[in-house]
């Protein structure tokens, strides 16, 4: 009642071992690809660190980097094992390691899947981080004389030029903050004083935007100040004028940029996951086929390979029993009247015999 039983002749086994050796080496390369994808994402996020608020988004590239490195190691070991599997005598030294190796690799491939899914789930956190980060950056745009913030103006300007965006959600964000430093305001001028008095916090607010919001494709020289005032400029209607400033908000632009990167990375990681899973299946078949050959005694004979020896339910039951008996091993058996001096033999690692059923509970002798 094995799961997906396949017959293997000697030549088939040898060929499988060789193919798996090559595939494992390809998997080492895909591990390197995973590592470099993680590194790339980390670099991209760090490039715009100043515009992101402190949020937990570094875990995604870190996970990809770790998974990539581990994949290289595991597949390197897998390559060595498969190379030795062609020769039955060399297989003997890997026999005991192979099953734990397969179990570990199985859990590791699920880590790869988790990594791929995390790439898609990161978007929400990223949006929040960008929203808060950009709001702060716009607020500190004018503080070019404050240490730690002096390059924020240049960063925001270059961002708006490069990503063709203006403000957080739109250009109107600039109307709500003071983006001209007090050093460049003539406090004796009436207009300046009026504007400062016009709001509660004493900020110099105006309906103008920095030059970096100007749209290069506009047929008209850029209108940056008195944007909402139609009569301030000739032949101008701010409601219908689409091309004067960049239409998008920078949060939207940056989110699109990162989502695009993460979707491509997520897709690549999914493909790598499928590839790793198939390599793992091959290794499992090879392991079971070789173990059966050893059991039959004749190294050149045919043997069966399978994924699981019994059906899923049987295997689950057997493993649960093993775990339960492991637990019993450490507990004192109450059938001996709680006397710790009586030696109760551990039945947890006993072989089950040819019919593969757990033994019926034996009456304990006190």
């Amino acid at each position: 009642m094995a799961v997906l039983r396949v017959k293997f002749t000697k030549t088939k086994r040898d060929k499988l071992a060789q193919v798996l050796w090559i595939l494992n080496w390809i998997s080492v390369i895909t591990g390197v690809i995973l590592f470099s994808l993680g590194l790339f994402l980390k670099v991209e996020i760090n490039k715009r660190k100043e515009l992101m608020a402190d949020r937990d988004i570094q875990y995604v590239p870190n996970m990809l980097i770790a998974v990539g490195l581990i994949a290289c190691g595991i597949n390197f070991l897998g390559g060595k094992i498969c190379y030795d599997c062609v020769d039955t005598t060399k297989f003997l030294r890997w026999k005991l390691i192979m099953l734990p190796y397969i179990v570990c690799t199985f859990f590791f491939t699920s880590c790869i899947l988790v990594g791929a899914l995390m790439c898609y789930s990161m978007r929400g956190e990223l949006e929040e981080s960008l929203d808060l980060g950009l709001a702060a950056a716009l607020k500190f745009y004018k503080d070019t004389d404050t240490p730690g913030r002096c390059f924020l103006k240049r960063t925001v300007d270059m961002l708006q030029i490069e990503f063709r965006c203006c403000g957080n959600e739109g250009y109107k964000d600039w109307f709500r903050i003071q983006w001209i430093s007090n050093r460049y305001l003539d406090m004796s001028h009436k207009e300046v004083l009026d504007r400062l008095r016009s709001n509660v916090e004493g900020k110099y607010l105006q309906d103008g935007v920095p030059f970096s919001c100007c749209n290069v494709d506009s047929p008209r020289p850029c209108i940056q100040s008195r944007i909402s005032n139609n009569s301030a400029h000739y032949n101008y209607d701010h409601v219908t004028e689409q091309l004067n400033l960049w239409p998008r908000g920078c949060r939207h632009a940056l989110l699109d940029h990162y989502t695009h990167i993460m979707q491509s990375i997520g897709l690549t990681v999914l493909v790598i996951w499928v590839f790793e899973l198939s390599v793992l299946t091959g290794v499992r078949y090879l392991q079971t086929a070789l173990e059966n050959v050893l059991r039959l005694g004749d190294p050149d004979s045919e043997s069966d390979g399978w994924l699981l020896e019994n059906s899923f339910m049987e295997t689950a039951r057997i493993n649960l029993n093993i775990i339960k008996n492991l637990g019993k091993c450490n507990q004192v058996d109450t059938a001996s009247n709680g006397d710790p001096n009586i030696n109760v033999p551990c039945t947890s690692t006993a072989t089950y015999g040819p019919d593969n059923l757990p033994p019926k509970p034996q009456p304990k002798t006190s």
């Binding site: 920095p210 494709d217 400029h233």
Partner: protein, 311 residues
């Protein structure tokens, strides 16, 4: 750019690159066949032509290196005229054929961090705001238009693409020469507000940088080609010497030129003269009048006898 003369440099490089794929592939076949005595002779006739072509390619490469430095002046001129036109037609976003000049110049200034042709003052001499966006009833506009002969709207302002993002101050684009128009502003000492470089200088630097970085590559390719030509010549002469001698397995001598340089030159000169004389004798006999043919036939033997001692 005004003209495309500078295109000769990359065009030659492309041509030489493609041609050398062919010549070097032939050279590799020749070398492979030189190991086998029976197959080498079929290349004999081709080799002279190959040497000529390969030497020509090397000379072309050397020309490219020289040209890339010599054409710098022409490149600068071309850029100067082209940029001047671009700045002049900046405002003509409604004229077909010129509607993208504004976008091109804006992108150029932002990408190369430059302003105007030589510097930002070039924008003061040109009307860069289109008449469609000027209110001709306004006094200020009328004053400005009347202030110059051509009736252009000139102002001491620059487009937004001249603004330097690295400036600590929000960009000042208008009334640049008026210190009182802006608070705490002195245009003589303000150097971070706009980009300082002219676009012509920026573009020339960029292109010369490109050509300087490809220079070492081209020089190394020339060296490799020359060494290939010389080695193939040695191989050819050595193999021919071995084939000519009785024992092909024996040592043979390889050389670049059979005789000394001067002698080889004399040889080639005399061969060329022979070829020319051969070409000259035939037309003169062809033009001879049919009446004088008999006379010529009588004197033909004498004529044939006389040139031979002197050649």
């Amino acid at each position: 750019m005004e003209n495309t003369e500078i295109h000769v440099v990359p065009n030659i490089l492309l041509m030489v690159g493609l041609a050398s794929i062919g010549t070097n592939w032939i050279a590799s076949r020749v070398c492979q066949d030189s190991l086998d005595m029976s197959r080498f002779p079929r290349w004999k006739g081709l080799l002279l032509a190959w040497f000529a072509v390969a030497t020509l390619l090397c000379c072309l490469l050397v020309t490219v290196v020289i040209l890339s430095y010599a054409l710098q002046g022409r490149l600068e001129e071309s850029l100067k005229i082209g940029l001047r036109n671009g700045i002049r037609f900046y405002k003509d976003t409604d004229v077909p054929g010129r509607c993208f000049q504004k976008e091109t110049i804006d992108r150029l200034q932002m990408e190369f961090r430059c302003c105007g042709n030589n510097n930002y003052k070039d924008w003061f001499e040109v009307q860069w705001v289109s008449n469609r966006y000027l209110d001709f009833t306004s006094k200020d506009v009328k004053d400005r238009i009347r202030s110059n002969v051509d009736g252009r709207y000139l102002l001491d302002g620059v487009p937004f693409s001249c603004c330097n993002p690295g400036s600590p101050r929000p960009c000042l684009q208008n009334h640049l020469t008026d210190n009182h128009a802006h608070y705490n502003y002195e245009y003589q000492s303000e150097d971070l507000n706009l980009f300082n470089r002219g676009c012509r200088q920026a573009l020339t630097d960029y292109y010369m940088g490109l050509m300087n970085s490809t220079g070492p590559g081209v020089l190394s390719v020339i060296l490799i080609q020359v060494s290939v030509i010389l080695s193939l010549r040695y191989l050819q002469t050595a193999v021919e010497g071995a084939m000519a001698s009785e024992n092909p397995e024996d040592d043979s001598v390889g050389y670049l030129l059979e005789k000394g340089l001067k002698d080889t030159f004399e040889d080639i000169k005399s061969k060329a003269q022979d070829l020319l004389k051969l070409a000259q004798v035939d037309p003169t006999t062809g033009e001879a009048c049919p009446e004088a043919e008999d006379e010529k036939a009588n004197n033909g033997t004498d004529k044939a006898a006389s040139p031979t001692p002197t050649s």
